[in-house]
């Protein structure tokens, strides 16, 4: 019998891969082949030694576990499941969810643009000719997707009387003719005004509604919502101050 055959037989015997007949044959051969018996005893000793060595191995330290879990805690959070799907880590459902979510966002943005366009066109159509420049100035910087709040009682109480509105409109035309309002204030801010919109709010917090837009169907939102609307509002407020200085 070759050495390799003996090795294989011992290996099969100890790993219990022998059939019943093969095992009987192996045990019978052990009595007649001393070399086979030597191999078997050596193999048994090796296995028991390795098992003892395995049992004596240390457990992994608590510090190691703590370090890994700390690293886990420092990971940035995943933004969304749909986002993970889009990067290839998710399954088909998450990919589908990502696509649907994108579609909904695009549809809502489209509806917002259309509705905003309708409001702008209605403002322009119903305005008196002398109010149109101011409406265009006011509507230009406003994001069309933002909802327009209904006019509240406070705004109604603070509306200016009709003669004052006419005077304000005249003043606006004068300023437009002298190029003071020919460009948006955001693009060319005047010193101390558009540069620091929050500071201007602090100076005149109560004068929220804009006089020229008092008859508009889409009133200007409260000034704390968006910066562009605030810019327009500030411009009109200064006009009213001039009116008060020259009654």
């Amino acid at each position: 019998m070759k050495q390799m055959d003996r090795d294989m037989m011992v290996e099969r015997y100890l790993s219990r891969r022998m059939g019943h007949g093969e095992e009987i044959e192996f045990l019978r051969r052990l009595g007649t082949d001393p070399e086979l018996l030597t191999i078997l005893e050596a193999e048994r000793k090796i296995r028991s030694t390795l098992s003892m060595d395995r049992d004596a191995l240390p457990r992994v330290s608590v510090e190691s576990r703590f370090n890994v879990l700390t690293m886990l805690g420092s990971l940035p959070p995943v933004e969304s499941v749909a986002g993970a799907g889009a990067t290839g880590g998710g399954n088909g459902i998450s990919l589908l969810a990502g696509g649907v979510a994108k579609g909904i966002i695009i549809a809502v943005a489209g509806i917002g643009i259309v509705v905003g366009g309708i409001f702008v066109s209605r403002d322009g159509a119903h305005k008196a000719p002398e109010d149109r420049p101011m409406v265009q100035q006011a509507s230009r910087p406003r994001p069309s997707s933002l909802p327009l709040p209904a006019p509240g009682p406070e705004q109604g109480q603070q509306q200016e009387p009709a003669p004052q509105r006419e005077q304000a409109a005249e003043l606006v035309r004068e300023m437009a003719s002298t190029k003071r309002l020919s460009t948006p204030a955001v693009a060319k801010p005047e010193a101390g005004r558009a540069d620091k919109p929050q500071a201007v709010h602090n100076e005149a917090p109560a004068q929220t509604p804009a006089a020229p837009r008092a008859d508009s169907t889409a009133p200007i939102a409260p000034h704390h919502n968006a910066v562009p609307r605030d810019t327009v509002h500030v411009r009109v407020t200064i006009d009213m101050n001039k009116l008060r200085q020259h009654p």
Binding site: K45, I46, L57, L72
Partner: protein, 198 residues
Amino acid sequence: MSQYSLTALRPIDPTSENTEHAHSPAGGDMLLLERFQNGEDAAFVELFDRHHQRLFIYCLKMVGEREQAEDLTQELWERVLRLRASPQKILNPVGFFLKIARNLSINHLKARRHHVPLTSLPEGLHPAEREGGRSELEERILTSLELLSFEHREVLILNIYCGYRMEEIAVMLGKSPEAIWKRASRARTQLRRMVTKG
């Protein structure tokens, strides 16, 4: 037209293979890894608790130093954590972990071979001066294990020390079970010859 199995006359679920795979240990690991990549930290902790000790033992037996083994295992999990930033579909997570552990161990051994000669090892780490309480034969067996080739030693360590079955090792290493059985058999034979010759 739906298909039916002959034994139970139940409709055959075309995804039954995947379902079975998902309930197997490897499939469970795959789902856990996927859940972790989707943002679930608890899934990572479960994966970690399942495999950390065995991977640590693997590294320890491959490199022979406890501190280095802990560092390597920590590096391994750090790489797994990076999967959240760049998610991947990993069908065999344990094989993936083992591959990382293996590469890290090999790199460490190469670096040690190039920069730290055996004679400069601290006393406690020198193979000839390891802890007592063992017979001469036992010492010889353990020393012979370290002299085996990397692949042979790896199979014995995964099987005897880490407790993986040969079939699992075959999946982890991407080999057939027969090839792993043969490799393990050769490793044992070599070890036995080294021991009996010495």
